[in-house]
Symmetry: C2
Subunit: 212 residues, 2 copies
DNA sequence: GTCTATATACGGATAGAC
DNA sequence: GTCTATCCGTATATAGAC
């Protein structure tokens, strides 16, 4: 399964349908998308959707797996790298999420929703990926604390904080645009700043008090 | 944690319908909810839904406004309070969001989705609320920086960080449960910790270097 | 105000021609 | 493989009895 099909304007009919479905399902969710809409977006006939994918639901499951992988796959490589330092992992993790979500801005909302609405499909989608709490970064976190480089820290809070600081702006984007008068280029600039700032913030959050 | 109990089984018919609609729309989104489902949940006849609210869409707009207000209304009081200190506002804001989302855990996902899917309805829903960037807390933030109590900080990042640290766990909850093996009571305990920790984290993130 | 019955449209899926 | 035409269940909404 290729995580990297972008909207395929050409390609096989099968690929066009899948790309159209991914775009629409990711933007609007399962129920809001009509099969006729997918067919129109793909520029093909409605009957071909069922010919290739049997049903709307099967097609959706493929999209869900794809999106879920987008969200967790790269991250698992980073947090389990044997050679990078702890600080480097924090830096890479923040940058990774921001970069991947710039390319796939609707994925967080999609994952959120469909995990709630179709929990039974999640098992299919996540094939034993992502055992965060037995990852290398967690071992390194314990070491940093033991060495006195960081204050003691709940590992769950720690992971929520890194990922949340990176992901939340994408979730909040529509609100930022409406309420905060942020435009597209301002938003991107903000994200680039955050790539640099998040590792610093994390460092500061858990920095041990140096003077008493 | 009222996710399980039937909303308003007493009250007027109109109230019962509205409460049922709010519960279902908030959990599943507009398209996934059927009017028959709302009627059943409210324990009334389908025809009464249209009798009181004309259409599914009108009913949805009411729910949307309600949920949007849940999300922004209390916050606007906190950030514009004339008497509380800056630190106190940070503390109240984090606690406010965590408390209100414990009671309304589905609201963040709902707001996220429906802002995306029905942006045209947002104008109706937000009645000129929430002008964050002209709020008291923003003035106080400038003062703190001027007094040297904080490092210079982009106000947008600052607001994203406070709200994100409070709200993101609710968005991530299904993932935490699946991937992180978090159960309900662990989750609540985590949230209570975060009420105390977020103000400290924010303080540390922006603490000026004290020694050179 | 509340119900039953129904009009009308829509959406997923398939049959069958080419 | 791709199309047109259509089946059939479901969804929103309303008519009209009580």
């Amino acid at each position: 399964m290729n995580t990297e099909d972008k909207p395929e304007l050409d390609g096989t009919t099968e690929q066009k349908i899948k790309a159209a479905a991914k775009k629409l399902f990711t933007q609007k969710g399962y129920s809001a998308v009509k099969t006729r809409e997918i067919a129109a977006e793909a520029g093909i006939n409605l009957a071909l959707l069922n010919y290739y994918f049997r049903s709307k639901e099967k097609l959706f499951e493929l999209v869900m797996a794809d999106n879920f992988i987008t969200f967790v796959d790269g991250a698992s490589h980073i947090i389990n790298n044997e050679t990078t330092t702890f600080d480097k992992k924090v830096e890479l993790l923040a940058a990774h999420y921001i970069d991947i979500l710039i390319e796939n801005p609707d994925v967080p909302r999609f994952v959120l929703n469909e995990i709630q609405n179709h929990p039974e499909k999640l098992a299919k989608a996540m094939s034993a990926k992502l055992d965060i709490f037995n990852s290398i970064i967690m071992k390194q976190l314990s070491e940093e604390i033991q060495k006195g480089n960081m204050m003691p820290v709940n590992r769950i809070h720690f992971m929520i904080n890194i990922i949340g600081l990176a992901v939340f702006p994408f979730a909040a984007k529509p609100l930022l645009v409406k309420v905060g008068q942020i435009n597209e280029s301002t938003f991107v600039a903000l994200l680039e700043e955050r790539k640099l700032l998040i590792p610093i913030w994390i460092k500061n959050m858990y920095k041990p008090k140096e003077m008493n």
